[in-house]
Structure formats: C-alpha cells, structure tokens
Amino acid sequence: MAVAEFKTPKIGEYPVIPHLQEGVMAHSKPYVAKPDLQEKLGYPGELVDNWKEVAIEKMGELTGKYRSLQVFLDSCVKCGACTDKCHYYLGTTDPKNMPVARQDLFRKVYRRYFTVSGKLFPKLVGAEDLTEEVLDDWYSYFHQCSQCRRCSVYCPYGIDTAEISMAAREVMDVVGKGQKYCNEIIGKVHVIGNNLGLPEPALVDTLEGLEEDVEEETGVQVRFPVDEKGADVLLVTPSADFFAEPHIDGLIGYAKVFHQAGISWTLSSYASEAANFGMFIGSYENMQKLALRIRQAAIDLGVKRIVFGECGHAWRVAYSFLNTLAGPFDFLDPSYPVPQHICEVTHGLIQEGRLTLDPSKNDDMVLTYHDSCNVARASRMGDRSGGQFEIPREIIKSVCNHYVDMPSYSIKEGTYCCGGGGGLLTDDLIELRVKGALPRMEALKNVVEEYGVTHMAAICAICKSQFSKVFPYYDFEMDQIVSLHQLVSNAIVLQPEEATPSEEEQADAA
C-alpha cells in the first residue's frame, strides 16, 4: 500500500464549507495489523470465516454494554447540524467524512439487523446488509475519525461519533481486521511500558543526557529521576516527551518547575507512557490493563501524587477514566486530585508565587494556543468547568508577553483537531493527516497574517508530532509548534545558589 500522491489543500481567504466529492478518500486506509500483533491482544489473526455473524453478535453486545451507542444509533434525525463540523470533511470534501455519514456506515447495519423498520423496509430507512464492501468502508472511514468530539458539541442530542468509531474499531478487531499502528503500540505497552518500546536502560540513558544538557545550559543541576522510591510525585508522560521535538523541551520544562518548587518527583520505567491507545480501539479491557500499570507504578514507588505530562487523549483517559478504571486511589495524598495535569501543577505554583519567571525570555515569539481536542471537549483542568481553557492560557500569559487567540470558532470547545489524533498519527495516513489539518492551518494563517503570530503552543504529544510533520505542507516551519512547558522552561529563572539543598539531599538519599 504505497502512499499515493496527493495535493495539499489550498488555504482560502476565509473558511468555506466545501461541496461534496464522493469517494475521494475511499482509498485512504491504514495498514492492517499482522496476525502476531492481533493475537497478542487476544484478537483473531486475520478475518475469520464467519466474520459477519461475529460482527453482528458483537454489535448486539456493545449496544447492551454502552448506553451511549444504543441511544446514539436510535436518536439521529439527520438534521445535518454536524455535517460541516468535521475537520476531515472540511479538508477532504468526502461526504463519508461528515460525522452523520460516518455514523451511518455503522447505523445502516444496526438498522438492518436490530430494528423492526430496517428488517421490514431496508430501502426505505437506509438499512443495509453487512457485506465486504461495507466492512471495507468501515475500515477506511472509521480510520478517518480522530475521535475529537467536535461533532458532539453541535449535535442537538450530543451524539458523539467518537463512541461509534470506537465501537466499529472494536468490532473490526474481533473479526480479525485490526489496525497495525494502534495494535502494535498497545502490544508494546503491555510488554515494555511505553508506545516506543523504549526499555528501562535506554530511558535512563536519555534522561541522564538531558540532565547534562540542562546543566550545561543553565549551570543548575536539574534532576530527571526514574524509579525513585519515596518521591512525592509520579510523573506519567507521553513517551514522545523522551525524544521528539518539541516534546522534549516540554519535559525539560516540567523538570525545571518541579526543581524550582522543590517537589520531589520520579518517572516510572514500568509505566513510562501516558497515552492509552486502548481508547482508540474502543477496548475497555485493553484500556484498563494499560491504566493498571500506572496504579501499580504508584504503589511500587510509594508516591503521594500522580501528575500527567502534556497530552490530549491521554489526559482524557487520565482525567475521565483513570479513577474508574484503576481506582480507588485512596493510598495517595487526598489533598490533591488524582490525577493532576502538569498544567494544573504549574498554574498552582504560579498563583502561589513559587516560580520565578521572566516572560521577556520569550519576547522573540508571538504566541497562539491550540486547544487539544480531548483536553477541550473530553476533560477538564482545575476545579471549574472550562478550566481546561483558562489554565493553559494563564500559564502562557505568565511566561510570554505576546499572546493572541485564533478565531473564536476554532478554539476552546470549537477547537479543530490537529488532524492526527485518535490513532491516526501514522505515515500510512499522511494524506488524511495533511488534509485534516486544513481548518487549523486556516485559523493559524489568519493570526499569523493579522497579528504576526510566530509560534503555536500545544499541550498534546500527538498535536505536536502532527504539526511538526504537516506544517511544511502549508509553508510553515516545523519549529513553529512549541510545547507549552517549553515556554515555561524558557522563562523560568533558575539560580544555582538558591537551589534548595534540603530537597536535593532528600532526593539523593531516596
């Protein structure tokens, strides 16, 4: 499956709702998981002979297990409110990328086998048999949904296509047609502990290298501890933070924040991954297994708090699901929420005046901020509704002098996905990723031209990787995407003589 040539969409003067072009993305399909990857997760290696029966049985099971799925399949009235809300539709013009049309790929099969009207009058109500063509369409178009939930904001019944995508992917997994990218990664985390398959020695090496770099640059010994028993904070962060740009600059930022605040912290080599791809494939069991590694690491290391690094879908699983999947966390310090986002920690410290910041250090940049979809619409920060919008912005404004927001339809709850979320951040889907980034690129270009914005900050590992990859297609530079804590890292003033020796000694002794 070679990656076909494609044209990068043109950024217009203002956003337009494109006319439909049927089938233009039908060819877009990620690599199918090989049998050994499938079997590791307990799925059949390849398409089973009686796949139709298995699929239909699974659909029935899922509608009984998930109220969301049952209600969403019945309730859609085809009003069209969602049709122009998906970044993949706006970027590709393929009608099957309209949220309702994507849902209908699943719904038409549900109607055929599970509803009276679909059994009696399939043509009339748009019900269809499950055939190989339908399964092909599922594989193609349910891997063109980044589960970003933008459609669910605008649906009068709150129908969330992400729920249907997850269900469809789970059905495809149990019939033996899983996606390589997601399933390979989940397999690695089950065995090694992170998406990259980075074993403990390599992790330790990387972090030692970072300590040296930071000391060279600042003259201060900022520690990056791994597996330190008795630390207060277990930091769980996406593994991209250990090697990718600009993620790693964010990791340096977290370390500097902990250092200056005198908070002892540690990473875990057992749970060295925040991202939980179990959600992408709709598998409660896999998601729970991955979440339990974090619980185990917290118990083994005897920490008091769990803090998550900058990530989007990971923060959804952490904020919304972790307590349910792997709780109760009654062995942690009850004065902190479980888990906390690194932005909550940093924001709190700024409020308390415990960080010394010099925003002029970021004066070479004019910043804007990309709300990551799953932080914006599937989770929260702080104790107030909407804190996930305010807290990151307040941090940026504390560490930068020049900040502007992108147009209002493209931020906060209306934010566009970067184009690479939900298990699509793979090179075999590059065309989709480039096209899906169009709405965000339009909004960014708008503030670049009007306000001279030079950089966009993000707090999601997927967003950062995705933007570094697709920026050049739209004539931006790769390094115009920055980590939020990279800005904190730039502004934070570390003074060697003020290093808190008691804390350091404690940490050394531990």
């Binding site: 069209g80 122009d84 748009g126 009068p156 019944y157 409660y284 709850e413």
Partner: protein, 246 residues
C-alpha cells in the same frame, strides 16, 4: 355504530398500545444499558443541578443546535414549539371541562399551526437543497416530513377553512376513554387527519422520533463532570474488576 367509528376506535386503541408499549420498551433498554465511563462533552456542569440546567437549555432552546446552524435551529425550533402549542391546544378535545390554561392558549395554539408548517417547510427545503443534508437523507427522512406536513395541513384546514363537527369529535374521544363509543363525524379531511396521526403513533417507536426519549439518556449531555471525585463502574466492568491484578 358505523363501521367508520368502529374501525377508528379500534385503530386508536391499537396505535396507542403500540406507541406506549414499544416506546416503553426502548426507554427500558436505554435505562438498562450502563454508561460505563464518564463521557460528558466538556465543558460540562460539575453538579447535578448544573446538569438539569444544561438539559433544560437543550430541551427548550436547543442550545447545541443553535451553536451549529442558525437556519436549522430556526426551522427546527419553529416546528417543535409550534407542535407543542398545537398539541396542548388539542387537549381541549380530550378533557371535560377544558382546563383554564388550555382555553387561554387556544388562539396561540391555532396560529401556531402556521409556525409549525413554516418550520417543516424550511427543514424540508434544507433537506432538498443543501447537498450535505440531501446526501444523508434516506427516503424515510423525506416521508417523515411529508407526513408531518400533511397532518399539519389537514389540521389547519379544519381550523381555518372547513370545520368539522367538533362537538361530535370530542364526544368520540371522550367515549374512547370510557369504552363507550360515540359516532365519529365522517368528514374526509378529518378522516385523513386522524389516519395520518394514527400512522405517526405507530411509526414513533420504530423511527428516528426516538430522539424524543433518547435525548434524556444521552450521556454526553446528562452526566456530571466529576470523574476524579467519584468512580463510575458499570456492572459489567465491575466483573472485570474482580479479576484485575493491579
């Protein structure tokens, strides 16, 4: 007793039974299926009363639809609010004596028929002329609008043009409640109107009209945003729990 009266009396009993039994069955399914994870679309209320407020806004002013598309919102709201007034006005045919507030809304309810029809016409126009909405429409989506428009037009004809024997009609309905049938007037427009209403009642539990009960069960709208404070384990997930090794 005329054949017509008997047929319609029986049809109304059957249609009402189908509507109630099958809708109740669906509601029971919605209530029984667990919501194993917290999935409110955020920002979401952090308290129960906040959720009630969010739901009230969805139900009365269609808040999400307003954010999505002003035309669909306008037509959709005109239709639903018009329908509500029209239905409430119809209570006068089923109650004796007629409640004071039903008397009060009578003039509004009469003219609400036009608002309802205008809304339906707008929605159908969108379904025909907007290529995105046309693409997602099945034949049943068009027919549903046609059915509602036909019910509205026949009703409005009787209100404003060609009155039926409303006293006799009311006696027929009151008779249905006590199983003591009175004759149904045999006006053609009335027969068409009632036939279509019966059809709508029968279709309801098997169609997208389930959005009416469905919205109350939508987890993205009715959940409180408090997952860090409270665990939210569904019964089937609890069974996995007992085998967890962590």
């Amino acid at each position: 007793m005329s054949v017509l009266t008997t047929v319609f009396a029986v049809l109304f009993y059957v249609a009402t039974a189908i509507l109630l039994v099958f809708t109740a069955h669906k509601i029971w399914r919605y209530a029984k299926a667990p919501a194993p994870l917290k999935i409110p679309t955020t920002p979401a209320p952090t308290t129960r009363s906040g959720v009630v407020f969010r739901m009230v806004k969805e139900l009365t002013i269609f808040e999400s639809l307003f954010k999505a598309n002003k035309w669909t919102w306008l037509f959709g709201w005109m239709f639903h609010f018009g329908l509500l007034l029209v239905l409430l006005r119809h209570l006068r045919y089923f109650t004796d004596p007629v409640w004071g507030w039903v008397v009060f809304i009578q003039p509004f309810g009469k003219y609400a028929a036009f608002m309802m029809l205008a809304g339906l016409a707008g929605l159908w126009a969108r379904r025909i002329f907007v290529d995105r909405v046309r693409y997602i429409s099945a034949p049943s989506d068009h027919l549903m609008l046609l059915l509602l428009i036909a019910i509205g037009v026949t009703g409005a004809l009787m209100t404003f043009v060609d009155h039926t024997d409303i006293v006799a009609l009311k006696a027929f309905f009151l008779g249905l409640f006590v199983f003591n049938w009175s004759p149904l007037p045999d006006d053609l427009i009335l027969i068409v109107h009632l036939s279509l209403v019966i059809l709508l009642m029968i279709i309801f539990p098997f169609s997208k009209l389930l959005h009416a009960p469905g919205i109350f069960f939508s987890p993205t709208r009715n959940q409180v945003d408090n997952p860090r404070e409270r665990r939210h384990v569904a019964s089937w997930a609890a069974r996995l729990e007992s085998t967890k090794t962590g």
